[in-house]
């Protein structure tokens, strides 16, 4: 079925999201690093629903854990919760105007941040750099562009593969 997004686009975007997680940045930007992986997973949960969504998000999160050296299972849990929330409110989110959708994504990222602080608090990690509070904001501002970019890539593929 040509409606389904191509596998390379799904895996490629997730791999890119993982890459941004560890890309060396100047110290100032390090704490602000937007969670691109989360945005990409939100996009796929919105556009291409499937039963495997949560499991795929969990696996991607597990890879992120290994990559970033966090406690194994922490990001996996956060990504699974994120995708679950998106699937739960998918009907509403899909028909929101762009700014409202971005705000909703921002709220979910904030929820993700709270979950992270909670998990790390339990694990006994130290206090985070104060910049992390701004990361969801940056993610919100980035969301429309991620959405448009992935949408354009997906639709172009669909047009090409549909016989005229």
């Amino acid at each position: 079925m040509s409606r389904a997004a191509p596998l390379w686009l799904r895996l490629g975007s997730i791999a890119f999201g993982l890459l941004v997680l560890v890309l060396p940045l100047p110290d100032v930007l390090d704490a602000l690093r937007p969670h691109l992986l989360a945005l990409v997973l939100v996009y796929w949960a919105l556009e291409a629903p499937g039963n495997a969504g949560i499991a795929a998000a969990w696996l991607a999160g597990l890879l992120a854990d290994v990559l970033a050296g966090t406690l194994l299972g922490e990001q996996a849990l956060r990504m699974a919760v994120l995708v679950f929330l998106v699937q739960r409110f998918r009907a509403q989110l899909r028909f929101f105007p762009a700014w409202q959708q971005a705000a909703a994504v921002g709220l979910m990222l904030l929820n993700d941040l709270v979950l992270m602080l909670l998990l790390r608090g339990i694990a006994g990690a130290g206090l985070p750099p104060p910049g992390v509070l701004l990361a969801p904001l940056l993610g919100t501002l980035l969301w429309p562009w991620v959405f448009l970019l992935l949408d354009a890539l997906r639709l172009r593929h669909r047009e090409r593969s549909t016989p005229r």
Binding site: L18, L19, L23, L63, L71, L72, G73, L77, A80, R88
Partner: protein, 291 residues
């Protein structure tokens, strides 16, 4: 779409919908607890690490290219200047080394008199730091040497300044090392001036170490140099760990707590030295004395 007479579908639907999530949460919880307590088999992490190794290398590519370009495409003028500076430094080091040789000979003679055997020779191997930003909450680095190059868990890592950390995880083509400043790291140290034995812990900040539980009667001052004591057998003795910056009474009021600045250049530098257990490749420390 609810059929009349169907038994309350909403509740069971909701339960079925959140089942995958619950499974994920349970799985994550088990993993996190196991990982936190260090009970996870190192092979699991090593396998996963090799799976994401290409991503690490890819992320480090921009800075690798930049450095390559910096060396290979540098202007003639810049190269000449650098060569002159390096030559000058080499001369300085040579002079210091010559002096050190005399000290080493004297040291060896005195050791013979005392009947001591322990030397300060050890073999090291240079490893590069893969330029990726790991979790900013934890002080870790990724090295580009792995099990295939003979790196083992527990190896000490040093740089020109002193003690840098230790290897905590090894996969075939890379290794992860914990820095001395990580909040979960502790190293047995000794005050050079008095010989007082202490333990230096990381703080999670790359510019500070914490030395807790110092008896109030202990002789320790600002500016004291801390070196590894070698107790515990994990770190070789005699490497600089840090210099005491401040001393204060701790919360209980029964002990002192010192803050120290790490001696190694924690967040600078691209190369580190791994202290090898195997055959020597290059040596640091005083040169060998001719018998």
């Amino acid at each position: 779409m609810i059929q009349p007479g169907a038994p309350a579908p909403k509740l069971s639907e909701a339960a079925a919908g959140s089942l995958p999530l619950l499974a994920c949460i349970a799985l994550s919880a088990v993993l996190m607890v196991a990982d936190h307590r260090g009970e996870l088999s190192p092979r699991i992490r090593a396998t996963l690490s090799s799976a994401v190794e290409p991503l690490w290398r890819l992320a480090a590519l921009p800075s690798t290219l930049w450095r390559w370009g910096d060396t290979h495409l540098a202007r003639q003028q810049a190269l000449v200047e650098e060569t002159v500076a390096l030559r000058r430094e080499l001369q300085l080091r040579d002079a210091q080394l010559a002096r050190l040789e005399a000290v080493a000979q004297e040291n060896a003679r005195l050791r013979e008199l005392l009947g001591g055997k322990a030397g300060y020779r050890l073999s090291v191997r240079m490893a590069g730091i893969v330029d990726v930003d790991l979790d900013p909450w934890r002080q870790r680095v990724r090295l580009d040497l792995g099990g295939a190059d003979g790196v083992e868990v527990g190896q000490a890592m040093i740089d020109a300044g002193g003690m840098l950390g230790q290897v905590v995880e090894v996969s075939p083509w890379g290794a992860t090392a914990l820095l001395v400043t990580d909040a979960s790291h502790a190293v047995p140290v000794q005050v050079v001036r008095t010989g007082l034995r202490l333990v230096a812990q990381g703080t999670g900040h790359s510019d500070a170490l914490r030395v807790p539980n110092i008896p109030r009667s202990a002789d320790i001052r600002e500016g004291d140099l801390l070196v590894t004591s070698g107790i515990g057998g994990r770190f070789p003795a005699g490497f600089a760990v840090g210099r005491v910056l401040a001393i204060a009474v701790d919360e209980s009021g029964l002990f002192l707590e010192a803050t120290a600045a790490p001696a190694a250049r924690i967040d600078r530098g691209r190369e580190v030295l791994l202290v090898m257990h195997g055959a020597p490749e290059a040596a640091v420390g005083p040169p060998e004395v001719a018998p």
